[in-house]
Amino acid sequence: MICPKCGANMTLKRGVCDKCGYDIEVNQQTRKYSCYYYNQGLAKAKIRDLSGAIDMLSRAVKVNKKNVDARNLLGLIYFEMGEVGLAVREWIVSKSFLEENNPADRYLDMLRSNAGKTEQYNNALRKYNAAVELAVQGGDDLALIQLKKAVQLNPKYVKAWQLLALLYMKNGDNDRARRCLKRTLSIDIANTTSIGYLKEIRKIKRMGRQLQITVAEQEVSPDAEEMKGEVKGGIIPSFKYAEDKPDYRSFICLCIGLFAGILFVFFLVIPSVKTGMREEFKEKQRQFGEQQSGYLQELDALEKTNESLQSRLEMQELELEAKKDELENAADKAGGINVFRMVDYYLKLKKSGDTSRMNLFILQMRLRAISQQEMSNAYAKSIVERVTADYPDVYNVTMTSAELFEEGSNLFQKGRYADALEYFVAAYEKSPDNEKNLYFLARTYQLTGDDVRAKQFYTEYMERFPAGTYYYHVQDLLNQVS
């Protein structure tokens, strides 16, 4: 074994160095205690009891100055609390005992490499020292300014926060003092100085509240002696403090007034408003009634006018029909019935302006119905030319048998048998093998009074469709027209 003092070889049996006489047992004991204190300090540092950790680690290095781990940790804790100078001192001493593989090297290199930050911490220390001097001399305001700057430069500077809190307390600003102290406790949770100051602040607050209550309950002149006992230093308040008792009478009066107001509104205001509204309503109702009767009279007059106009229109239509029939008969006699019918439809088409496929097809059918004999008449010929000039596409329009049948059916169901007839004729011509076309053609002829043609087509139906849907019905109808 190597002697820790002189470095010579020594045997463990003797326990004493042969060269320098150093007692190894003492060394071992001191190392043991130093390690114990180091462990204690480390445990406290882990839970942020930094003041407690400093105490333990200081003992550790006092027992064994060469406890490098304890010194390094002590330096770190000083640094954390803002005591950068003390931290550097511990690390330098640690380095002197162990030059190689020492973490203190890394800590010192960090400070050297961050020169700006290091200078900031140093400035904080200088401002704190200046503040201490000013506070001792009584310059509290200037000291406060310096301390505020110090904590701004190093927010973890515990002593600066504590001195700041003390000065706030001295000036009566306990709230600010409390905030400063809470800040220190966040860094060092069991700092006895901060805890002591906080207790003081709480005590002051508590006693201040008790005094307030006591003063409020007492009269000034008769109870001055009693109050002296409550207040240390014999301070007697010079003004009377008494809280106002709640005034129930005014509250009751207010309630009565409110109730009277409600009654007044309910019994006087509302009925008169209601009466006014009722009168207004009656007036409006009367005006409306007058207006309504005026409208009704007008309506009656208009209805009467309408009726007379309707009857005149009906008369004129009847006259027109009569004229038309007259003309048709005349045309028939003159051998121009088909021309007449074509012109009739042409005029209707012109009037309606509805040039749908169906309407043009009807015009086409009527044009085709004009016989050669009728066309020999120059007048008839000019009319046909006029019509074809107005509707040049009239002969190009085509309709299917089904479309013609459907249109004819619609007119048949409305009772317009004469109009339906030409659709059924056209449908039959397009599709003569369709039994429905044949049946409805025959039936429509019968309904329009043309029994001859009706009989002709009924007979054809029975011959061509013995198993047809309408066979037996056609048999009955044939008997009717025969």
């Binding site: 205690y33 005591e83 000065l167």
Partner: protein
């Protein structure tokens, strides 16, 4: 709180405080600056309990 009662309260609170501010402020000593750290190392006495015990034993031995 009006001005009159505020002054009253501050006065009371000052009187009620148990801390002697002057004494307390005097407890705050200056902090070591970084530049002073090296000088402090040189000036500090590096004697621990081990050294003291050794000295005692040496004195005893000599005697």
């Amino acid at each position: 709180m009006d001005a009159g009662s505020a002054i009253f309260h501050v006065t009371i609170e000052k009187r009620l405080c148990m801390i002697n501010f002057e004494e307390e402020i005097a407890k705050y000593g200056p902090s070591m600056e970084i530049s002073q750290a090296e000088e402090a190392v040189l000036a500090s006495e590096m004697t621990d309990i081990g050294d003291i015990i050794e000295k005692i034993l040496q004195d005893k031995k000599d005697n």
